[in-house]
Subunit: 343 residues, 2 copies
DNA sequence: CTGTTAGCGCCTTCAA
DNA sequence: TTGAAGGCGCTAACAG
């Protein structure tokens, strides 16, 4: 039916008061079975659904969660959101999408935490810049659960990015590589999150533990896009040529996308993988297997789901729910872009 | 500051009435410059932001738009959403994300149009099933703009999918192919949209126009995922082997993702592209160039932006805004997964 | 230009 | 188990 009517129409049709309609439809106790049934019939007949705004205003809760994400066309973020979605919606929350950083348009400032807390009951923050918390986190009066970055005292799903860098590099070391480059520093940490820097730190640690002095010239700033990986490898080739040395025998890429770009650049130049060059990525992107890409995996959709769980816990558990940080272990998916070095 | 106060606190601090605060902050005319400034100062000092729920209730508009999408981790949808996002948010609308179909969870029914119209001022429908309009579109009392499918009488951004299939097939015909397969029928049109069927129709038309009898055995049901393309090509190989004939010399894939899967399957079996097999996709996916994939492009982000424009037009133009359908022309991006047939 | 007066539609006491 | 009354925070119409 039309669905324009309000609670009073339903009440009239069912022959009860609006208060009873409200109780009946929300499944609150203290309504006789027969009354409840009558109300349901009336509501159904009128196509009645409570107005979210009115309900939110009266209850002081919005039944919505906000998702802060820097991009959504980057697979990682889309997959996390998708992972969170089912749980969020099945608990009756709507999902509001807020762009952050790059994707937010030219002059969009940092997210207005004050506006957010009146709009949503909780926030899922994907790679929220490390700088944001200090600025405006205290203004955010609703639970915030982070993914991909951590804020002390808050719930979050975390992978140890240092360890990711470590594992990736160790895999290459284990194959016998010793000249290993890193593709993926974030351009002046543009969005203020430290994922790239942490993975790089793991890379450095692994080398040092193996008694290898990290060579800063082998690290490229690429950002997160495919093109960055492509350009990064290109630049390394130029550097090597100019210095009269050879390319490193292996690269750790900060993400699968960057790795894909590097593989492309290598292929264009006739560099064989893994004979001449090994490349390992991070994420286990849906498309990575197409490249036979070896990668450090993180269960991305599960991170989204877990984050949703933590958020629901905070929103519904109230103060009783202590903040929890869930650590997710990275895995290693060995395919065939990595192998022993030729020399 | 804290940001918990309401409009009355601001009014008190500024020494005016709540109504004036409302007018001043929203930039309505009829407020003296000095008053407006004073109100702004007070609001800033208190960290005041109007409650969206209260405002929505009072005005009868929610300042939100809903986005209906079957997946978001499929690049096409994420890119459309991203394309729409900036315009939507810069006009002061929040974006609500509603999963549809596959992604909505096991038992999620069709979107409840009645619930939607009280929650949002407009809806962006990405590939809304052809069946949905009939069912519940009349209950949706707010403007709906479609992308990827059209509903008579509504605004929408459209690419001619028949033409896409036609162009893709013609490209292959032009190269001299005559045995051309199609990878990409939707499993029993699972989500009820006709994109795949339309592209297939274009494929059939192109063949017929070239005087070639389409062979139904060369069409595979793959769905939209990479894996579908991979399996589809595999199945074609089996069929060919069983029938003692050779594989078609070329395939049209319904999407770049499906094409990627097919390329992978070919590579695994040592089938050379494009010498032994040509493959053309659709979309011009961000990653397609990595595969040197020839594809029929559609400007995806621009479709999102256009859809946002149409929607804003409908929402803000009111009845004055006639529904418009914007046709987007597909392009052809020739890379190197297509070439002349060997025989 | 500004204040006062009523709601917007629902939910939540409190009383019956 | 149900109804009546009031208020959530803001905005719109009408006065002044």
């Amino acid at each position: 039916m039309v669905g324009a009517g309000g609670i009073v129409e339903v009440a009239a049709l069912a022959g009860v008061s609006p208060a009873t309609v409200s109780r009946a439809l929300r499944g609150l106790p203290g309504v006789s079975a027969s009354t409840r049934a009558a109300v349901r019939v009336a509501a159904e007949q009128l196509g009645y659904v409570a107005s979210a705004s009115a309900s939110a205003l009266a209850r002081g809760r919005t039944s919505a969660v906000g998702v802060l994400a820097p991009w959504i066309s980057r697979w990682f973020f889309a997959a996390v959101i998708e992972g969170a979605q089912e749980l969020i919606t099945s608990h009756g929350y709507d999902m509001l999408l807020y762009p952050l950083g790059a994707n937010a348009g030219p002059d969009a400032g940092p997210v207005d935490a004050r506006a957010l807390h009146k709009r949503v009951d909780g926030v899922l923050g994907l790679n929220v810049p490390a700088s944001m918390p200090t600025d405006s986190l205290r203004d955010l009066r609703v639970p915030l659960v982070t993914v991909g970055s951590t804020v002390p005292g808050l719930s979050g799903v975390q992978v140890d990015d240092v360890r990711i860098g470590l594992e990736a590099t160790r895999h290459l070391l284990g194959l016998g590589h010793s000249r290993i480059g890193f593709l993926g520093l974030d351009p002046d940490d543009l969005y203020g999150f430290t994922v790239a820097a942490d993975r790089h730190r793991g890379y450095v640690q692994a080398l040092e533990q193996a008694g290898i002095e990290p060579d800063p010239r082998l690290t490229e700033v690429t950002g997160w896009a495919v093109q960055g990986g492509e350009a990064g490898l290109g630049h390394q080739l130029e550097l090597a040529a100019a210095a009269g040395r050879t390319l490193p025998t292996a690269f750790v890429a900060v993400s699968d996308e960057v790795a894909m770009g590097a593989l492309y650049a290598a292929r264009c130049r006739g560099i064989r993988v893994p004979q001449d060059l090994s490349v390992i990525g991070v994420d286990d992107h849906d498309l990575s297997y197409l490249f036979d890409l070896t990668t450090v995996s993180q269960p991305v959709r599960r991170q989204g789901r877990l984050a949703a769980e933590l958020l629901l816990e905070q929103m519904e558990g109230g103060a009783a729910a202590r903040p929890r940080v869930v650590q997710i272990d990275p895995g290693l998916v060995v395919r065939s872009t990595t192998g022993p070095p030729r020399d």
